[in-house]
């Protein structure tokens, strides 16, 4: 699904956000990018999403090389992805329904079908009662769930979630992780960026530990006590 080969990203020459990242994520995997604040987690997800371009190195997503294809195919690629942004990126003055429906609207899906699917996914994240509210008046956790709903409503082949439970309490976090697991079971590849150790324990998953823009190691956790598998900087899998 995702191959990164010796990828570097420097926003400014002084502070490289990512250096020499090589990573291979298979279709259907459930991967955590784990690291402290400023480690480069968001940057990594943005590179996969095509929202940022690597300063060096190759990124291949779904068989497409980001360095090669035409700009105009990016939207088509994105329609197969879902992204939960760390800052949500919701339209603050549109209703929750419109926000979630937008991801389907751009594909040209029919109104009735949009309605059906949006209602379903809002039920999953526990926001059925908030359908006609605007995000502006929602609580932080509610906004985050709208962002999650939008990311999964188009049943993406790849779900990228940036700190998707940062504003959710323990109970809701559990619910959302369960939801992600279900989606994963249906075949969606999932990559979650987080700084929260607790998240890692939800199920046996691959964890890519990031620090100062470098891969510190790759673990598999969840099976009672994390055991390290591959090594730093490593070609994983």
């Amino acid at each position: 699904m995702i191959q990164m080969l010796h990828v570097y990203k420097n926003y400014s020459p002084k502070y490289p956000a990512l250096s020499d990242i090589s990573l291979n994520i298979e279709k259907g995997e459930f991967v955590f990018i784990f690291g402290p604040s400023g480690a480069g987690k968001t940057t990594l997800l943005k590179l996969i999403f095509g929202a940022e371009h690597p300063s060096k190195g190759q990124i291949i997503v779904n068989g497409m090389n980001f360095g090669r294809f035409k700009k105009s195919t990016l939207p088509l690629l994105r329609r197969k992805m879902g992204f939960v942004f760390q800052d949500f990126k919701l339209l603050n003055h549109r209703t929750v329904f419109d926000n979630v429906g937008l991801a389907l609207e751009v594909v040209g899906i029919k109104k009735t079908e949009i309605k059906r699917r949006v209602l379903k996914v809002l039920k999953h994240v526990g926001l059925s009662s908030r359908i006609n509210t605007v995000p502006l008046v929602l609580s932080g956790g509610e906004q985050q769930r709208v962002a999650i709903a939008r990311a999964i409503v188009n049943e993406p082949a790849l779900l990228l979630a940036d700190e998707p439970t940062g504003n959710l309490d323990a109970e809701l976090t559990k619910e959302i992780m369960k939801l992600f697991k279900i989606i994963n079971a249906w075949g969606t590849t999932i990559v979650i960026a987080t700084h929260d150790k607790n998240l890692l324990n939800f199920n046996p998953t691959k964890v890519v530990a990031l620090e100062h823009g470098k891969i510190k190691g790759v673990f598999v956790t969840g099976r009672k006590g994390a055991e390290e598998t591959a090594t730093r900087n490593g070609s994983i899998n």
Binding site: S72, L77, R78, F83, K89, L91, A103, V106, G108
Partner: protein, 298 residues
């Protein structure tokens, strides 16, 4: 086709959603176009009025006193054969005298003492429209003067040249002012739209993030821009029309004005279309160029 319906729908939805912003935009477009069309209307009316003045140009041919009535009708025939001539009318010596007396009542007594009628007979020529230019009249006058029996030809040389100059001056001044207003209108409309897009750049960014193509994002904005231009033009022309109505009524009722002196007319249909087109096209292009900026985001 279904796609198109969606876009139209979306555009209207946006107009409604950003109601206040759109109201202001339409208001600004409207007023810019109002200024433009008011200028147009005043200019066209003035030009028509000045053209009417030009229609009053006529060439007077003074005939020598020695001509017999037969000579005169021969001269008439000769002049009539010129393509420049639209209408020809004879003023006999007697008519000239009585006209003179009417025009200068102060001198009537003096003229009554005369034994001979000192005034010559003359032919008044009205010219075809295409021969009313100052140069063309000059040439025509010279030709007529060569006809035997014609003593002199007059056509208000100084006036006709002054008029031509004035018209030229007016036209170039109006052209300059018109171009300024037109450019100002286009600049204001397109930049107003640019300002409104500042407030909506989040929307564009987010649409790109969920996989909308540039085309998909653009089209509703284009339609919105066109609609803004259309609405702006509509309101501008409505206001202009009602002001026109009020104004002509006021002229009609006013005791100061003889209606025939100033009968103003409204903009002709193709000018209305032109102004509407200016609104719509700048609305479209305003959206087009402003969007470019934001569509670069990824």
């Amino acid at each position: 086709m279904k796609r198109f319906y969606y876009f139209i729908n979306k555009a209207f939805q946006n107009l409604r959603h950003f109601f206040l912003i759109n109201l202001i935009t339409v208001g600004i477009i409207s007023l810019s176009l109002l200024v433009l069309s008011t200028f147009f209307m005043v200019f066209l009316n003035l030009q028509t009025y000045l053209n009417k003045l030009r229609d009053q140009i006529q060439v007077s041919v003074y005939l020598a006193d020695g001509n017999t009535p037969e000579d005169i009708s021969l001269i008439q025939k000769k002049i009539n054969s010129f393509p420049q001539v639209k209408k020809l009318s004879l003023i006999t010596k007697e008519e000239a005298l009585s006209f003179f007396k009417d025009s200068f009542p102060g001198q009537r007594k003096a003229l009554e003492n005369l034994k001979d009628n000192p005034l010559p007979a003359s032919l008044d020529i009205q010219l075809q429209d295409e021969y009313r230019g100052s140069e063309k009249v000059k040439i025509f006058a010279r030709q007529i003067k060569n006809i035997p029996g014609v003593e002199d030809v007059e056509y208000g040389q100084t006036w006709i040249e002054g008029y031509a100059n004035f018209l030229k001056f007016m036209r170039s001044a109006a052209l300059a002012v018109g171009v300024v207003i037109l450019l100002a209108t286009i600049f204001i409309i397109s930049n107003t739209i640019k300002l409104t897009l500042f407030a909506r750049k989040d929307e564009i960014e987010i649409m790109k993030l969920v996989g909308a193509t540039n085309f998909f994002i653009r089209v509703p904005f284009f339609i919105e821009g066109i609609l803004q231009g259309l609405l702006g033009a509509f309101f501008a022309l409505m206001v202009l029309f009602f002001s026109y109505q009020l104004f002509s009524n006021w002229i009609g009722q006013s005791s100061y004005f003889s209606l025939k002196f100033f009968k103003i007319f409204f903009l002709p249909f193709h000018h209305l279309l032109l102004i509407t087109a200016v609104g719509m096209i700048t609305g479209l292009l305003g959206s087009f160029f402003s969007l470019g900026r934001y569509l670069k985001y990824e």
